[in-house]
């Protein structure tokens, strides 16, 4: 297993939106999905997930509903709203262009200046 990376500030929201966009999930499920997609390379403080979820729901980007978990227990499921979908798209584009710029800068060689 590779060394785990600390989460970049402000990226947790985006990861949650992405995770939820793949299908309704409860809080623990979101954590598992992010770890699964990232192949366990991201270190996420478990507790920090919930303030983020409450904030996103408060802003109307995700919606919640109580449902039944895989092993027949009551769990709160989150889904992406229409506004959340737009938000995710915007954040993704923003992230990609930012990553391009940063990568471009970091990849600059002395002779290119």
């Amino acid at each position: 297993m590779d060394k785990q990376l600390d989460l970049l500030q402000g990226t947790l929201d985006m990861l949650i939106l992405k995770a939820v966009s793949l299908g309704p999930l409860h809080g623990y499920g979101i954590l598992l999905r992010i770890q699964q997609i990232s192949k366990d390379r991201l270190e996420i403080q478990q507790g920090s997930l919930y303030p983020a979820l409450y904030r996103l729901e408060h802003q109307g980007w995700i919606a919640s509903e109580w449902g039944e978990s895989e092993n027949k227990r009551k769990a709160k499921y989150y889904t992406l709203t229409v506004a959340g979908k737009r938000r995710l798209q915007a954040e993704t584009e923003n992230w990609n262009s930012m990553a391009d710029v940063i990568a471009g800068i970091l990849g600059t060689k002395p002779e290119e200046v």
Binding site: G27, Q46, S69, K76
Partner: protein, 890 residues
């Protein structure tokens, strides 16, 4: 969109707090249990798995707190906490809380009461189409109140010649008795209107139709009437069958053709009209036309004034016009808030003065409470420091203090509304005693009705006061330095800046109360000056009876016989020394006027007041004869005679002996034509209509000689040796016996009548004196609070001083000197302000005794006394400090 989302989610979670909490619990528990189960599945023992799950999750409470923060409910939580703490703190010191709430309540109540009046009288707009462009036309003789009424000629000239009005609307506001279905008449405001009245104001009928141009004819008017919705409801119970029924207005039967829409009440809110009928047009009608104009779009007030002034001059500048009439001037005033009525003319100046006064009172109350809160805040420094140490952010400490002051202001607001309610009803009683008001069915309910403006005003005042009061202590609380405070450095003394600020607050209270008290003293001095004027007649022990002869049907001979019989029988009442009839009594209101000329100087016309009186008038009023004689029974059949006063003698006849000379009057109300009289008596000058004006030249013709048959308000004056009110019932009895068809309109003493003519002055004097006293009291509380706090804070220091040998009197002197310094600092700023305030007051109210230094001297003296009194208790406490106790306490 996002905002609404957040608001909705905030409201939902706030309203369902307990559900949110339990759901949050369930969700977090599910997370940890699910994680633990996964660990168990990987082979970990269950107990160890749960422990791991809790560790990995982190602090559950902190997570929950962050969740609450993120949906904004923690704000409400901490607000509730703040409120609970504030309530507890206030309950802990009930004395302070009571003083604070009362101070706020008086400030808020006084402001609300005066604003309610101002709003009801001057700020509410009429419920008509585009009220902003309505103006009122008034004429005014120099030095007299303006009056909305114009002759046919003036009306015609202004209507046809102007280019500034899209409508010139006729509505003559009047008071008259109306008989409807019930036999007894009801006195209501009515309007005689032109054909365009309803159409121009955009009023629709609720039933039937309204008066239109077809109803208005030259000469006689057509006998139709429109009634108001409230009148329809109260008198006819909304019966739609009344269209076509008769209604008797005065003595004229009119046919009801319609009802105005609900909500329309005419052209003044407190003088609500209930019946309208068409005015008759034409030169011979002898009517006065009340005029409203609607400005054309784009025409300014100044343009309208300029053009109409020229037209009006042309209308009155006729060769046959009285010289007096030519001095008339036209005024145009906005009428969107209702036309000027006697009530609004009487009250607009007092209300302006009082609004300024209560504004100052509010500032004073704020400074007072700010000082008290600051002193209290200082004693809570320790608590604030502890909270700061425990991690409370400054904003939170600031909010806690503001929550307390706002809580106080909310409580003050509630009590203040009650204060305002009581104050408004007391004010109304004073208004209603005004001489113009008591004869009219003024709608005081409309004046006192609180509307959205009043509500907003009160809330704004309460909020403003809460913030102003709390600001200082909030700032100081948020600046708490935990380290120094907890080391108890502060016990030796607080920072110099803060002490100065506290003293500054007290000094500013002294300043404000000096201004308020000196102006109060000014108004009170003025009122007592008015009440002690030499009137030229004796005001005490004089009973005035107003009689309505309008329906008696007496001829001159009957009047003469019955009035003499009545006077004779009244004279026989024990305690009555003299009785007389007259057309007018002094201070009753404006009476007849005419132009007089001496026989040998017909070209020199003097404007004179006319009052027809019976014999014994001057004896009854105790106005001395300077020469000549009173009227006698022989005059009734003889040649016309008059008695004149000194001013008339001087102005008409120069310095010669007036007795036996002849004076020609251009007209007397009952005779119309010119008539020459012989002067048989000369009496001392007496005030006539206005206490503030010098006695006008006055001519007194013989009532009985004039063929007088009584009017709607003939005056019977009774001079008594006993309390005049005591004679009232006997007078009623005898009057009913002798004059069976003549109702008594009212009985009042001369002093009451004088008071009814100076309602504005009384109002200002009474209220400003009350506010001045309140200001002094507040300043005293402020001073006392600060000194008491300072002495308490300096107990240690005083103990040390005493231990080192300071005398007790010295300690007391230090405290008193402190107090006097603050009072004197207040004076240095207050005195110039008070002088400035006097000048402002003088510009609003003519002939105030502004030159007098007495008011300021009185105010300064009172403030010094109040200051020493307030300082006495703390000073005594300082003097009694026991050095041993003070030092051991350390």
């Amino acid at each position: 969109m996002r905002f609404w989302n957040q608001l909705r989610s905030w409201i939902q979670t706030t309203l369902h707090r307990s559900r949110m909490e339990s759901e949050m619990d369930a969700e977090l528990r599910f997370h940890m249990e699910a994680f633990a189960e996964d660990l168990v599945r990987n082979g970990m023992p269950r107990a160890e798995a749960m422990r791991r799950a809790r560790i990995e999750f982190g602090g559950v409470e902190r997570v929950k707190e962050e969740c609450r923060d993120n949906v904004g409910v923690s704000f409400v939580d901490s607000l509730l906490q703040d409120l609970r703490l504030a309530l507890r703190m206030l309950r802990k010191s009930p004395g302070f809380t009571a003083v604070a709430i009362l101070t706020l309540a008086l400030g808020i109540g006084a402001n609300t009461a005066i604003f309610t009046m101002t709003n009801g009288l001057m700020l509410r707009t009429l419920p008509v189409r585009d009220p902003g462009r309505l103006v009122e036309l008034l004429h005014q003789y120099p030095g007299e109140p303006a009056f909305n009424g114009f002759s046919w000629d003036a009306y015609q000239t202004m209507r046809d010649g102007n280019h500034v009005f899209s409508d010139l609307i006729v509505d003559s506001l009047n008071v008259i008795a109306v008989r409807a279905d019930k036999p007894q008449p009801q006195t209501v405001f009515v309007g005689q209107v032109g054909g365009t009245f309803f159409q121009a104001l955009g009023v629709r009928p609720a039933a039937g139709r309204l008066i239109g141009p077809e109803d208005v004819h030259t000469g006689d008017h057509s006998p139709v009437a429109v009634i108001s919705w409230p009148f329809w409801k109260s008198r006819f119970n909304l019966d739609s069958g009344i269209i076509g029924e008769k209604i008797v207005v005065g003595d004229t039967p009119l046919t009801i053709i319609g009802v105005t829409e609900r909500g329309f009440y005419g052209i003044s809110e407190h003088a609500r009209q209930d019946v309208w009928w068409p005015i008759s047009l034409g030169p011979s009608s002898g009517m006065w036309y009340g005029l409203l104009g609607r400005l054309k779009p784009g025409v300014s007030m100044e343009q309208a004034r300029a053009e109409m002034a020229v037209l009006f001059q042309a209308a009155i500048d006729r060769p046959d016009a009285d010289p007096f009439v030519r001095r008339m001037e036209l005024r145009i005033e906005p009428a969107g808030n209702g036309i000027a009525t006697p009530l609004s003319q009487m009250l607009s100046t007092p209300l302006t003065v009082l609004m300024a006064t209560v504004g100052l009172l509010m500032l004073l109350a704020c400074a007072n409470l700010a000082g008290l809160l600051l002193a209290r805040g200082a004693s809570r420094q320790h608590e604030m420091a502890v909270r700061a140490c425990l991690g409370a952010p400054r904003a939170r400490l600031l909010r806690q203090t503001l929550t307390e002051s706002l809580l106080l202001s909310v409580a003050g607001c509630v009590v203040g509304i009650f204060v305002a309610y009581v104050a408004i009803h007391a004010l109304i009683r004073v208004f209603a005693s005004g001489r113009f008001v008591m004869i009219a069915p003024v709608n005081f309910e409309a004046l006192t009705k609180p509307d959205a403006h009043v509500l907003l005003f009160t809330l704004a005042i309460a909020l403003l006061m809460g913030l102003l009061c709390g600001a200082a202590s909030a700032m100081s609380a948020s600046k708490t330095e935990p380290a120094t405070t907890l080391q108890q450095v502060s016990r030796i003394g607080e920072s110099k800046a803060r002490r100065l600020f506290g003293k500054g607050l007290v000094a500013s209270q002294v300043t404000l109360s000096l201004v308020l008290m000196s102006s109060a003293a000014l108004f009170v001095e003025y009122l007592s000056h008015l009440r002690n004027l030499n009137l030229g007649f004796e005001r005490n022990h004089l009973l005035l009876v107003t009689l309505d002869f309008a329906r008696s049907g007496y001829n001159a001979a009957q009047f003469s016989q019955l009035s003499q019989e009545l006077v004779m029988r009244l004279d026989a009442i024990p305690g009555v020394s003299s009785t007389t009839f007259s057309d007018m009594s002094p201070m009753q209101g404006p009476g007849a006027a005419s132009f007089a000329s001496a026989e040998d100087h017909p070209e020199k016309q003097t404007q004179v007041s006319i009052n027809s009186v019976a014999s014994d008038y001057f004896e009854t009023y105790a106005t001395p004869f300077l020469a000549g004689r009173d009227f006698s029974a022989r005059d009734q059949a003889g040649s016309p005679v008059v008695i004149i006063n000194e001013a008339a003698a001087r102005d008409c006849l120069g310095n010669e002996n007036p007795i036996g000379r002849h004076i020609t009057l251009s007209h007397v109300t009952s005779t119309k034509g010119e008539k020459t009289y012989e002067v048989v008596g000369l009496v001392r000058d007496a005030k006539y209509n206005d206490l503030q004006q010098p006695a006008p030249p006055t001519i007194y013709p013989d009532l009985l000689q004039q063929g007088y048959i009584g009017s709607e308000h003939s005056q019977l004056a009774i001079r008594t040796r006993i309390d005049p009110d005591g004679a009232a019932s006997a007078v009623r009895q005898i009057e009913a016996d002798v004059l069976k068809d003549v109702p008594i309109v009212r009985i009042m003493t001369m002093n009451e009548q004088i008071d009814s003519s100076i309602v504005p002055q009384r109002l200002i004097a009474m209220l400003s004196a009350g506010f001045g006293a309140l200001a002094a009291l507040l300043a005293a509380i402020g001073l006392y609070g600060l000194l008491a706090y300072t002495v308490a804070g300096r107990t240690h220091e005083i103990g040390v001083r005493m231990a080192l040998g300071a005398a007790r009197t010295h300690v007391m002197r230090v405290v008193l000197r402190d107090a006097l310094w603050m009072v004197c600092a207040g004076f240095t700023i207050g005195a110039p302000l008070a002088f400035w305030g006097k000048r402002v007051a003088a510009s609003l109210i003519p002939d105030l005794p502004v030159a007098s230094l007495l008011p300021i001297v009185v105010a300064v003296a009172i403030m010094i006394a109040v200051g020493l009194l307030a300082a006495y208790l703390p000073a005594r406490r300082a003097m009694r400090v026991d050095p041993m106790v003070a030092l051991r306490y350390e």
